[in-house]
Symmetry: C2
Subunit: 379 residues, 2 copies
């Protein structure tokens, strides 16, 4: 049977951006949103808590395959869906690697993939020991629940994360923190791939991501000076991760390009990712269309760039007064070539409320266009 109805758990902008390719491809998309009026409202057929088994099952029974706007659905619920014969993509076993950073680090190490030096630590003493052997500084991350810079601290003092140890102890489930070497990197890259249940994997060009305050601010596609070794290596690593972890759908692998020319895996996301928004206009097949094709086990589309350069700039926060739309007349008039994306979210400091993408032959011009268009939505 050819599957044709995708159910997305979570009503955020990633679910929203799956709507256009679903409409164009002629497949049905349904969204379980957390509350009324979320970003993906248009396709919402259910409202409720994704941590509630009954809610999720009632929704899942109306679709052919379940996928996600985020990685927070509890594994026990996902396993119950699978037990009931509902395809879940990515599946619970794969998703666990995105939900738990210690689990992910252990698996990537087992697969022989390049990662920063790391350890699981359960006390300030163990952190002290790691600091001692890694130049006195390190990055500590909570294994679960972190994103956009949350749950990440750069530390040089063994007692810097005692509050996290305490929280873990109080949580009762125990568990450890992840500590990693502070990688000396030249820049950050992201490699997106998509993988079908049948095993087909397709990679987009590797991109450069620019973070500000731990949040993605800008993406340049392809990453400058990546042609050849870096591009091949990034694609090979992400393909190995997707295959090794049994991912279905889009997988984003965030990478450090070290000052000595190595690529190390930083983070994973098993869903469309901010670093792939450029692909909506910039690639023959966008990450959102590809994600739908992958979870429906349809043949994947071509992933080449449609322009020499694409630059995506996030709209973070949005206008201090009024809505994004208030700024459209000026922004669209000044930038007829730039594509402006709004997520239907209320402006709020630091919140991702939209993005813009510019494309063309000249990177300086393209970056100027994108940054200048995004600036219309600030302040």
């Amino acid at each position: 049977m050819v599957l044709s109805t995708v159910g997305v758990i979570g009503g955020g902008q990633l679910a929203r951006m799956m709507i256009p390719p679903a409409v164009e491809l002629g497949i049905t998309i349904k969204v379980l949103e957390e509350a009324p009026g979320m970003s993906a409202e248009l396709a919402a057929t259910g409202v409720g808590d994704y941590r509630d088994l009954e809610t999720v099952i009632a929704f899942a029974e109306t679709v052919d395959v379940v996928t996600f706007d985020h990685e927070h659905v509890p594994p026990a619920i996902l396993r119950e869906l699978v037990a009931r014969g509902i395809p879940v993509r990515p599946g619970p076993d794969a998703l666990l690697f995105a939900q738990d950073k210690l689990h992910m680090r252990a698996k990537l190490t087992e697969l022989g993939l390049p990662v920063p030096d790391w350890a699981a630590i359960e006390s300030a003493d163990e952190l002290a020991e790691f600091l001692e052997t890694h130049g006195g500084r390190a990055v500590v991350k909570t294994a679960r629940g972190g994103y956009d810079g949350k749950g990440v601290r750069v530390v040089s003092e063994p007692h810097s994360v005692d509050d996290w140890f305490l929280a873990l102890a109080e949580d009762g489930r125990g568990g450890a923190l992840l500590v990693e070497e502070l990688v000396s990197f030249r820049r950050e890259l992201a490699q997106l791939v998509a993988r079908r249940p049948s095993g087909e994997v397709s990679a987009w060009p590797v991109v450069e991501t620019v973070q500000r305050d731990g949040v993605c601010a800008e993406v340049i596609a392809p990453a400058p000076q990546s042609a050849g070794r870096i591009a091949d290596l990034a694609a090979d690593i992400a393909t190995a991760v997707a295959t090794g972890l049994g991912v279905t759908g889009v997988l984003a692998v965030e990478l450090f390009e070290t000052t000595d020319g190595r690529l190390l895996v930083n983070e994973l996301a098993m869903r469309p990712h901010n670093s792939g928004h450029w692909s909506i206009e910039g690639s023959t097949t966008s990450q959102f269309e590809q994600h739908l094709r992958a979870v429906l086990d349809l043949p994947l589309g071509a992933t080449g760039s449609r322009d020499v350069w694409s630059v995506m700039v996030n709209i973070l926060g949005g206008p201090a007064d009024g809505t994004l739309q208030d700024r459209y007349p000026a922004a669209l008039a000044a930038h007829p070539m730039v594509k402006i994306h709004g997520y239907g979210k209320e402006p709020r400091p630091g919140r991702k409320v939209g993005h813009v993408t510019a494309s063309g032959d000249d990177l300086d011009e393209v970056a100027y266009q994108a940054r200048s268009a995004a600036a219309f939505f600030e302040g």
Copy 2:
């Protein structure tokens, strides 16, 4: 005030294809569909007869501006909306030129725009007279209600359209038929433009349309051998029509390129048009995004081609057995570069149920890709 909610009357595929750009641009789209489950179902907030004043007003009061999937809403209803202060784009006066071919021919003639020789006829005698002065053959069209080859006859005998004269007489409203010279044309072209209420007009490259049995089968963008005089003339004509008729939104002008190198206006459509579907992937701004921008009076986007060539092929009828989706695995596997569009409509002989678009540098290759992909959905 910046308008941000567009209401579309009619739930067909043109309304459906406005959904993706609305979602991406972050504006709200609502659709009044004729019956449940139509092509634009996802955005439907109302169901009912567009010829019913109450139904249309109830819908229109929930949006900032009203626009259309088709041109069939009765003028009296449109004028009532305007009287109530609801922006209608295109407006009733402009739309009348698309609803009534005699009205359109008279206006284009008044504007000095190139049209085939024509006359309004009310009897077989008048038709006989026209045939006599035009080589014994002519095209007769009903002034209202025709589309996709319906309401059009090539005639050589004065009594060939007596049934139409009879119907007009029985209708009680009287009225005439349009008779036109049979134009000797080399090919058919279509020129799309968009116009804002503020007067800004933007034109896409002129395209070549290939009709089969009076229905658009294929579109080549830009029209081969059109660079220079033909492209400029087509854009000038369509701009003059849009301005002269006060059109807002997308206007499609179907043109004959005559064997002696003139361009003559054949038909008009005041909405996104089949001849512009290529622009979804092929232009920086698609006709559907531009239509939304135009009716919201937002600055228009750039309309250049993103590739040297784009070819759009309609999926007419669709599979004799099963759904479009049944053919996706084979079609997508064979054509990873081609974009396949399904309209969510049941296959039925002759019905437009989808289209495919291919783009690239080599017209032969692009046309092959598009035709071959479309063929997966036949028979």
